[in-house]
Structure formats: structure tokens, C-alpha cells
């Protein structure tokens, strides 16, 4: 290890390495554009973006959580529960604000518990959030008694299906939150501390930063974003459903990994996650347009994750 010192002494040319995910994304887009004439239509591209937003809303906080060397397996289940709470609240009160407050509240509560288990009880994040995954899933089934919640008023659906200034609302929401996360990670203390949480917690302790609180905050941010995503999901499916987003946390984790964020040492970037989410979206969309059988789509999703990580691995191994 010590012997890398010399080479590092000369300032390295600042050539950003092209991440595996970008190569994969461009390759996929080229292939689909060549094969399927509809792929590059404005309608379809906007389609892909709109469909990717819910996953993006989960994958961005997941990126931050993974950068702290954490993981949140409960996100899909919390999203489901939040969506049910939102649907029930909106149906009974006709108030979007109350509904959203309820959903975000549920998310924050689960995020707090996750963060508390991880930071105060020092339970490994995988275990802690596997536990809360079960709790959220159970609560979702109990709250809904296994039934869909319907009768969602029109104004809620408008959140998802409406447009503002000619741009679909979900894209605007996604863009706004992307900007927020970018600023959060690169222009605030919080972002600096997130990388320190994953990279070297002792450094924070010695700098007098109360990192336990930061860690709880990161998980709470994840919960809150699940609450926001619940708004879009509920508006999208026009109902609350007890299994609507089960397993979505794994999609989010895969997108983050695809984007090149590492599970160690606080090495991650939010733009990579955006690319990861889009790659998943483009792949699904393209395969659907090409009418590829569903079984092949399933396998392709798995292969995509493996190939992108393999490409990243190849490059990082070069000296």
C-alpha cells in the first residue's frame, strides 16, 4: 500500500473514468433505437422518464444510505405501508396534505427506528432493516386486511398523470428531488458527513461531530422519500395495495450498485444512481417494445446488473 505514494505524488490527469453503467446505457439505447423505430419518439422517452421516477426517489436516498456503509431493505415495504396510509387518509379526509403528511410520517417513523437500531444498538443495517421490512409488511397487511384501498379522488391522480408547463408532473418531481439530493450531497455539511460516515467514522468523532444523529437522519431521509414515493405510487395505481411495492428496495439497491456506488468506504455518486435507474428503465422499455418474452426480460435484468459491475470491476483492477 505504501508504495503507491510515489505515483500519487505526481498530480494525476483529471480524466473522469467512464463508468460501466454509462457504457451499458448508451449501448442499450443505440441497440433499441436501431431495432425499434418507436424507441426514440418523444412520447416513449418521456414514458421511460416517468416510469423511472418512483424508483429514482427510492434509489437516491438508498445511495446515501449505502455510502454510509448501510443498507435499507425496508424501503419497499415502508413505501407500501405509506401508500396505504396515504390512500386511507385521503379517502377519509379528502385532504392531500394530510395524506402526504401521514405517508411521510410513516416513512420518518420507520427511518427513525432503522437509524436508531443501526446507530444506537449497533445492529448491522442488513439485519435491522430486514427486521423492519417484516414489521412494515405485516402492518401493511394488517392495516389493509389484504384489500386494496380504492376511491382515490381525482386530484390525487392528477399528481401523477397531470402536466405542468407541458412536462409530466412526475418528471418535474423527479428532477426537483434530484437537484435537492445533488445539493445535499455536494454542497452541504450533511453530504460531507455522509461520505465520512462510510469512510471513517472516527474522523467524525474526533472532529466533534455527533455522527449518530447524522446516521439516524440519513435513514429518516430514506423513510421520508419512501413517503414521497408513496404519493406518486398511490396516484399512479389509483389505490393503496398491500403488496404494491414489495421488493422494490432490491430494485433500488441494484440501481445504486449499477450506478457504481460502492458498498464500502463512502464511495458513491448520485449521478451514477440516476444513470443506473435510467438503465433499468431503458432496458425494460426497450425489451417491451421489441416484444421480448417476459422470461428473457427477467434474465436480462439479472445479466445487466452482473455485466455493469463486471465492467466497473475490470477498470478498477487496472493499476
Amino acid at each position: 500500500m505504501s508504495d503507491h505514494a510515489l505515483s500519487a505524488a505526481q498530480p494525476r490527469p483529471r480524466l473522469p473514468a467512464i463508468p460501466g453503467v454509462a457504457i451499458v446505457l448508451v449501448a442499450l439505447a443505440l441497440v433499441f433505437a436501431a431495432i425499434s423505430p418507436n424507441f426514440l419518439s418523444t412520447g416513449n422517452l418521456s414514458n421511460i422518464l416517468v416510469q423511472s421516477v418512483i424508483l429514482l426517489l427510492l434509489a437516491m436516498p438508498m445511495t446515501l444510505i449505502i455510502m454510509t456503509e448501510g443498507l435499507d431493505l425496508s424501503m419497499g415495504a415502508v413505501l407500501t405501508l405509506a401508500s396505504l396510509v396515504l390512500a386511507l387518509t385521503v379517502v377519509s379526509t379528502q385532504s392531500l396534505v394530510l395524506g402526504l403528511a401521514g405517508a411521510v410520517g410513516v416513512g420518518l417513523a420507520f427511518g427513525f427506528v432503522n437509524g436508531w437500531l443501526v446507530s444506537s444498538l449497533r445492529i448491522p443495517p442488513f439485519v435491522a432493516t430486514l427486521g423492519t421490512l417484516g414489521v412494515a409488511q405485516g402492518l401493511a397487511l394488517i392495516v389493509s386486511d389484504g384489500q386494496s384501498v380504492v376511491g382515490i379522488p381525482r386530484f390525487l391522480r392528477q399528481v401523477y398523470s397531470g402536466e405542468t408547463a407541458g412536462i409530466p408532473n412526475p418528471i418535474l418531481i423527479g428532477a426537483a428531488f434530484y437537484a435537492l439530493f445533488h445539493v445535499l450531497l455536494y454542497h452541504t455539511k450533511f453530504g460531507v458527513y455522509i461520505r465520512a460516515l462510510g469512510g471513517n467514522r472516527d474522523a467524525l468523532t474526533l472532529a466533534g461531530v455527533k455522527w449518530q444523529r447524522m446516521l439516524v437522519a440519513v435513514y429518516m431521509l430514506g423513510g421520508a422519500m419512501a413517503g414521497v414515493a408513496a404519493l406518486l405510487l398511490t396516484a399512479r395505481i389509483n389505490a393503496g395495495h398491500p403488496t404494491a411495492a414489495i421488493g422494490m428496495e432490491f430494485d433500488a439497491i441494484a440501481a445504486v450498485a449499477l450506478g457504481g456506488t460502492s458498498f464500502e468506504r463512502g464511495n458513491g455518486w448520485i449521478f451514477g444512481t440516476l444513470l443506473g435507474v435510467l438503465t433499468v428503465g431503458v432496458l425494460r422499455n426497450g425489451l417491451n417494445l421489441m416484444a421480448v418474452p417476459s422470461s428473457a426480460q427477467v434474465a436480462a435484468t439479472g445479466a445487466l446488473v452482473i455485466v455493469a459491475l463486471f465492467l466497473d470491476g475490470l477498470r478498477s483492477r487496472k493499476p
Partner: protein
Amino acid sequence: MLNLKTLVVAFPAALLSTAALADGESIAVFTKNQTNPYFQAVRVGTENAAKTMNAKVIHYIPTKPDSIPEQLSQIEDVIVKKPNAIVFIPVDYKAMVPGVEQINEAKIPVVNVTDRSAGGKFLAFVGADDYNLGLETGRYLLKKLGGKGNVVIIEGVKGSLTSIDRVRGFNDAIKEFKDVKLLASQPANYQRLQALQVMENLMQSHPQIDGVMAANDGMAIGAIEALDGANRKAQVIGINGTKEAVDAIKAGKMLASGDYNGFVQGCIGTMVAIRALRGQPIVTEVVLKPTVVDSTNYQPYDVAVESRSCPAWDQAAAMATKTN
């Protein structure tokens, strides 16, 4: 009779700019998952019908079984591709309504199959009456038991329309027999293994179980395996009339299965869609009559779905419960 029921419906064809299409139409078929044999039967039915009518079908199945967001995405993608018509089984009859509305907006004619959607405009609905299927099959079991004894119900996925209606049918059948006692009603999510374990556990709490009503064949067979494993006997019924259930009925292990006939649903759904495109007369609702498959009448079901063939349109139209 036939002529009365079958009326010409001209408007869907008029919507199409390419009304002249005689054949080669593409039909997008939406099913819930890749694992349940029932949906495979539907898919084979659609393919069979399309083949005879010289059209082609493309299947869209969520990669995650029964995933609502994924089926919605698939609808959006399919709309871009603009197939001539859609045959549609919603993964959730309530939550997929926005998807159906998008299809309607894109002016793609769509036929609803199996689960009746809670909203949206369809050319027709083709399905079976889950409630009556449950009621009839349940009655059949209870009569075999001599109108008395202890029974358990194994439910499907909680909140799914098919499970709710079938279980309601079971319960109403039980109410008709005063001497029948319902011991328990537990969900096993249409999963064989879960049904097996639920049954194993139920046998612990209930030393005498005479009859088992399962909301599908897979669960019924899971329950039979559990009974076999414990060396206990009970009469078991399921629903769907799958090949596996027919084999079990033949072997005397299973009493009966209510025929849900996904194959025919697929056939008729596709026929309606294609006929509408070609400006031919269609029907607007087909609810298949419940048939209980038992050891006396299993022969027609004792063939793989792939080697069955669709009914002719006259026969199909004869089953219609509503026409325009």
C-alpha cells in the same frame, strides 16, 4: 336464439384507420404472472384463437409476479407500440383502472378477461363466475360428505377478486348445510407449499377434518400431500380444472375441481378482439357456466392445454351472457 344474441357491433372497427385489415393483426395479451398454470392456459387459448384467425399475439407478463407498477409500465410501453387490440387480465382489478384508462385514451380496443376490472371501457368481458364456481364446487363436496362433517377453507391471495368470490361461494355453500361445521379459513396465497404447511398445522389443531375447500388446484394438491403425509383422509376440492387436478381426480386422490377454463377464456377474449377489428359481430359479456369436474366427466379435460382447440365462434357466442 343465436342470432338474437349476436349483434353486429360496428363502432370499434370504425375507430381504426386501417379498418381494411383482413388479417395479421397484432394482439397484446396481458397476464398476471409466469408461474401459475392457469394463466398459461389463457395464453395458449389466445394463441390458439389467433392462429386460427391468422392474427398474432404478443404476451406481456410482469417479470415480478402480479406486480402492479410493472403491469402499468408495460401498458405504457405497449401503447407506444400500438398493437391493434389488447386482451387484458388486470393483476389487480382495482389498481389497474388507471392503466385501462390510458389504453382507452390511446383508443386501442381492449377485451377484459378473467378478473373483471373495476373501471375503464372494454369491448367485452370474458370470464367465469367465481362466486357460482365456489358455490357449485362447494355444494358438490358437501353433498358427497352427506351434508355433514367438518371442513376447512384454504383461501388464495387475500384481497384478490377470485379468492374473495370463490371463498364467498364456499361459505354460502356451507350455510346451506346445517350439519357442516367450518373449522378454519386460512390463506395460502395460491401457493402449493404454503397450502401444504397450512394444512399440516390445521391438522394439528383439528383431529377430524372431513373436507377441504381450496381456492385453486395447486393449493388443493398441497393439502392432499399434507393429508397423505399424516396418513389422514379427507375429501378435497379445488378450482381451475388443471391437468394436475384431473390426474389427481383420476387417481382417486381428489374429489373434484371447479372448471374455470382459462383456455376457453383466452380463446373467446381473443376472438372477440379480432372480430371487432374486422368489423364482425361480437358479444359483450361471456361468463362461463360453472362445471364441476369429477371422476365421471374428466375425459375432455384429460389433455394438455396445448392440444386443445378453441370452440367455434357459434359455440362461443352461445355462451354469451350479454350482447350489445
